[in-house]
């Protein structure tokens, strides 16, 4: 292996880093299995795909650029309310344009707050994300005339997808839709990570002090990725609003912000599939545990989180990669 690397041109080497691996293709093929094997769980599968997309957006800022956010649900919620209000108040229930509107509005909120986020670091930055999150949640709560407050936003009606596929009770269309959006945005994120910009983000995460010394403006990079991640989180929120035809206050609450961090950490931050694996794990575990002990299920998540953080600092995927490496070197 080492020998092959030495005789390879640098360009070929970088190309090889970003090529598709068989296990990736297998993963995406496996996401189609619920259609045939678990037709009763398609609604859950749809929720998982949405959570995965949300976790992916967090991974872009947390895993790659090193911005720890405790208020990422703000953008998810803004997206959900944008798509929801578009339908409930303006009577426009076309799903794809709903996603687009959510991306634009959430992206705009992300861009506006990015000026402050990119200026601070460490604990101050985390507290700022938390502060913005709490602020938005309370705004939505107090604007009951618009958002429906604690009762949630009612009266959303999502039109058939592409004018043809009606959203059914079993969730066939919902899952197909969520999965397709997740896959397309995943492709975009994958491209971004392998771009010069993706390299710059890893540079910021690895050493923010060195970046200015190589002529880089970290602030500009951070603002850009924060805006992109906000837009993707907004799309995830809109997907939830459209497929469930309801938006509740907890879509932008602190708990959702914390949950998504947990999912990403369980799966493995800084790896494109970390958020996806984490979302599957978390959502399936919740579904199973809450059937047995609905009020205590966080107890088990707490134990799982502690075990993963202590023994698998890079999450499940990081642990799997380590085992694979060891096995290969043998």
């Amino acid at each position: 292996m080492a020998l092959a690397e030495n005789t390879m041109t640098p360009q070929r080497y970088l190309q090889r880093l970003s090529r598709w691996r068989p296990i990736e293709i297998a993963f995406w093929l496996a996401t189609l299995l619920p259609f045939v094997l678990l037709p009763n769980y398609l609604s859950l599968a749809s929720q998982i795909a949405i959570a995965a997309l949300f976790a992916l957006s967090l991974d872009l800022i947390l895993g790659y650029a090193g911005i720890v956010s405790l208020g990422h649900a703000a953008f998810f919620g803004v997206g959900a309310y944008t798509a929801g209000l578009l339908s409930a108040k303006l009577g426009w229930g076309e799903p794809l344009t709903g996603l687009l509107a959510a991306a634009v509005v959430a992206g705009a909120v992300g861009y506006a707050t990015s000026f402050i986020i990119a200026r601070f670091r460490h604990l101050a930055r985390i507290m700022l994300t938390l502060g913005f999150g709490l602020l938005l949640a309370e705004l939505a709560n107090s604007a009951g005339w618009l958002t429906g407050g604690v009762d949630g936003l009612q009266g959303i009606h999502t039109w058939p997808l592409l004018g043809v596929f009606k959203f059914d009770l079993y969730g066939y269309v919902a899952y197909a839709y969520s999965l397709a959006v997740l896959f397309i945005l995943f492709l975009g994120a994958r491209r971004l990570i392998n771009s010069p910009f993706g390299l710059a983000l890893r540079g910021i995460r690895e050493n923010a002090v060195r970046m200015p010394a190589i002529g880089a403006s970290s602030r500009v990079h951070l603002q850009m990725i924060y805006t992109i991640a906000a837009a993707i989180a907004g799309i995830a929120g809109a997907l939830l609003a459209e497929t469930t035809e309801t938006v509740s206050l907890d879509s932008l609450g602190f708990e959702r912000s914390a949950e998504i961090v947990v999912m990403l950490v369980l799966g493995g931050a800084g790896r494109l599939y970390g958020g996806l694996i984490g979302a599957i794990l978390f959502m399936v575990a919740r579904d199973q545990f809450s059937g047995i002990q609905p009020q205590y299920w966080y107890f088990w998540i707490g134990i799982l989180l502690i075990i993963v953080v202590i023994f698998l600092p890079n999450g499940m995927l990081g642990g799997a990669a380590k085992i694979y490496e060891r096995w290969r070197k043998r």
Partner: protein, 251 residues
């Protein structure tokens, strides 16, 4: 006479009552190789931090060529051609050498904001990065992640990252710090082989190295310029010897 590559005018900085830079006036002609020496705590690294914008001075001005850069941010100074290395490795531990230098090249070429194209498609930037690595004899190690590189190689990578910004003036803060003496020669040979247009200022404690590679020496003591001159002048200066033997009791 053309403007110096880098100069300072009455540069001053203090932290509370501690003066770390007093009235520093230095001037580096284009293509010069200057050594900055002085006892520990003389303010050598502070001076580099001031000139590169990592600290802002209380008074005084800094010029790169004819341009006043005193108010510019560090990255803007780098883009104008003023680069530095760090005494303590300040690298990207999780990137390999090729990725790190390619990143620096991409930043200089203004393509680091591109998120729709694969890095591998930027052939010229990658080849430029690889050439820099070859020049510093890092070609064989360039796929190894930085944190696993031997320490001496990491010191070379420090220089490679700075070179990728295509500097006109390069400030080297103890480039061979912590490297065993028999290896430190390699690092300075690499430095010496850099293009003659490049203006260099380096901090170094080993006097053999200083006298061998510097064309001019600045002696810094207690935050101020104690004296400066050619290596022969400095070697003959009894005051410098006193400072280094500690009879002036400076720390």
């Amino acid at each position: 006479m053309s403007a110096p590559a880098l100069s300072t005018r009455a540069l001053a900085k203090s932290f509370g009552s501690l003066v770390v830079a007093r009235d520093i006036e230095i001037s580096l002609p284009v293509g010069a190789r200057y050594a900055l020496i002085g006892p520990n705590g003389a303010g050598k690294t502070t001076l580099i931090n001031l000139m590169t914008g990592m600290l802002s001075p209380n008074a005084g001005k800094i010029f790169l060529g004819e341009e006043d850069i005193t108010a510019l941010e560090p990255q803007d100074r780098v883009r104008r051609g003023l680069a530095r290395t760090f005494q303590i490795n300040t690298l990207f531990p999780g990137l390999n050498a090729l990725e790190a230098v390619t990143l620096a090249v991409a930043e200089r070429r203004g393509i680091a904001g591109q998120f729709w194209k694969n890095v591998a498609e930027h052939k010229e930037a990658i080849e430029e990065a690889y050439e820099i690595l070859l020049k510093l004899r890092l070609g064989d190690d360039c796929y190894q992640v930085t944190r696993e590189l031997p320490y001496g190689r990491q010191r070379l990578l420090e220089i490679a990252l700075a070179l990728a910004t295509k500097p006109k003036v390069l400030l080297l803060d103890e480039p061979a710090a912590g490297v065993p003496q028999d290896e430190s020669g390699d690092i300075f040979e690499a430095v010496a082989s850099l293009s003659g247009d490049l203006t260099l200022l380096f901090i170094e404690h080993d006097m053999h190295v200083v006298f061998r590679f510097a064309t001019h020496i600045i002696v810094l003591v207690g935050g101020g310029v104690f004296t400066q001159g050619s290596p022969a002048q400095i070697a003959a200066d009894p005051g410098v010897r006193e400072v280094y033997l500690g009879t002036r009791g400076h720390g």
